[in-house]
């Protein structure tokens, strides 16, 4: 059973996408501040480009440490984004649809990792899931599994900081759906999970994609929680941000090459996927 959006809604949305705001010279104040803002964001990248040893770049990027770090960063950030979606969407649904005591607290807690310094998040994860942690200790005693210093630990740390992006985006989208759609589906006999799967989920598609991409980007850049919880070991836990930090102490050129690589990878993905995460496109 499929519910399609009424024709009026569809054409209104199409019109909205093509509506152009009046263009013209911006007011002086806005223009000046925008220029400062743009410069503030662009100048560091210009500085990075100026410092880059362009002729050696290919060799530096080909080295095993860099390849390891890139591979780890990509696999762990994608895994974090997927887990954030798997757990974040139901959490967002509960926050949006269900009513229970302590909902305000749950919402605040779900957003907390965005506000906390990542190192604090990492320390908290250590206290909970480390070998001596609240949950970690019984797990360690039973199975001998230790999460810190493992690639799984990296995924856990980056999921912790990235999930709020999915929760917030999706909750907003779920709350914005006209409840009549779901009511109509239910009145036609659809069970709650079917209503979610075939009505709500397709309708929040764009927001979900945006949330997942933002979660991925956040996970890719994660440093503090990763180094505190998972440690730093090339090939197992040394993601690109950690590799840059270590390289800064040893070999300036490698640090710069890694930084340029991160900028290029992130920039390319964000541009290619711009339709999915930049709002109002």
């Amino acid at each position: 059973m499929r519910v399609s959006q009424p024709a009026s809604d569809r054409s209104a949305r199409r019109a909205g996408r093509h509506r152009r705001h009046a263009t013209g010279r911006p007011p002086l104040v806005l223009g000046a501040l925008a220029t400062v803002g743009a410069a503030f964001l662009l100048v560091p990248f210009v500085g990075l480009a100026a410092e880059t040893p362009w002729s050696d770049l290919a060799t530096l990027i080909g080295s095993p440490e860099v390849v390891d770090a890139l591979r780890l960063s990509l696999t762990t950030s994608i895994a974090s984004a997927l887990i954030s979606g798997l757990l974040g969407v139901p959490l967002a649904w509960v926050l949006s649809r269900a009513d229970f005591r302590g909902k305000v607290l749950l919402r605040a807690t779900a957003t907390l990792p965005m506000v906390l310094p990542p190192v604090v998040g990492g320390a908290a994860l250590l206290f909970a899931l480390g070998r001596r942690g609240l949950l970690g200790q019984p797990i360690y005693n039973q199975t001998g599994w230790s999460l810190p210093f493992s690639t799984t630990g990296v995924v856990i740390a980056s999921t912790f900081v990235a999930m709020p992006f999915v929760v917030i985006t999706v909750e907003g989208a779920l709350s914005a759906i006209d409840p009549r759609y779901e009511a109509a589906a239910a009145s036609l006999g659809a069970g709650p999970f079917t209503v979610f799967r075939r009505v709500a989920l397709p309708m929040i598609g764009p927001s979900l994609r945006a949330g997942l991409i933002l979660a991925w980007a956040r996970a890719l850049g994660e440093f503090g929680a990763t180094v505190t919880f998972a440690g730093n070991l090339p090939g197992r836990t040394q993601t690109m941000p950690l590799a840059v930090a270590v390289a800064l102490d040893q070999d300036r050129d490698t640090a710069v090459a890694l930084s340029v690589l991160m900028v290029l990878v992130s920039f390319s993905v964000l541009v290619i996927l711009r339709r999915h995460w930049w709002p109002a496109r």
């Binding site: 001596r132 810190p148 730093n232 270590v246 800064l248 102490d249 040893q250």
Partner: protein, 205 residues
């Protein structure tokens, strides 16, 4: 030491702390510093090569690498050879950070290559993880062991291994207050300054 110096002379001493290699980068990038003290000679000599030092640096303290474990030494670690056990979770500083380079020198001299679980960006985080029980053994400085008191047990590595590191201090060429900076360095090298260092577990040069 900064507090003591301030009390005695009224000159304000602002401390910026961090891994020696991080501080070196900051100084080379133009950070406003008058005096630099480093945890090993090689970081200081790099600065000397780049001609940012005003005078020759002098050694003001000596520190040693030790192994630290939880009180009671649950894994019965006695010597560096015990670190060859691959089931142990060993933590050390990253290469490029003085205590990390020192640890590697000691491993090389002892002919042991432990399986390191994490190369931490500074010695404090190695210590913190051993204290928290997340690492079985860490390679830190003797002074870190002393500063942690009863919460940690330090195990000496023995006199045969190159465990000592010398801490040089020098006045920077571009920092302001050259006179005050030189006076501070002289005070650190004086018997009074040295006494404070010994009280905290450093050895004399």
């Amino acid at each position: 030491m900064a507090e003591e110096y301030q009390l005695q002379t009224g000159v304000e001493v602002v401390l910026v702390t961090g891994g020696s290699s991080v501080l070196r980068e900051q100084i080379l990038d133009g950070a406003d510093a008058s005096v630099f003290a480093s945890a090993n000679q090689s970081v200081m000599s790099e600065l000397a090569q780049r001609k940012v030092l005003a005078t020759d640096p002098q050694v003001f303290a000596v520190n040693r690498l030790v192994m630290v474990v939880e009180p009671g030494n649950p894994y019965r670690i006695g010597s560096i050879a015990d670190l060859g056990d691959q089931t142990l979770l060993v933590g050390a500083c990253a290469q490029g950070v003085p205590c990390g380079d020192l640890a590697q020198e000691v491993f090389d001299a002892a002919g042991v290559q432990p399986t390191i679980s994490t190369f931490e960006p500074n010695v404090r985080s190695v210590l913190a993880k051993v204290l928290a029980g997340e690492l079985d053994v860490g390679l830190v400085y003797a002074t870190d062991g002393i500063a942690s008191g009863d919460t940690i047990e330090a195990i000496d590595l023995g006199g045969q291994l190159p465990t000592s590191t010398q801490y040089p201090i020098g006045v920077l060429a571009d920092g302001g207050n050259r006179l005050e900076a030189t006076r501070f360095v002289d005070w650190v090298l004086s018997p009074e300054g040295q006494r404070i260092l010994v009280d905290h577990g450093f050895e004399l040069p």
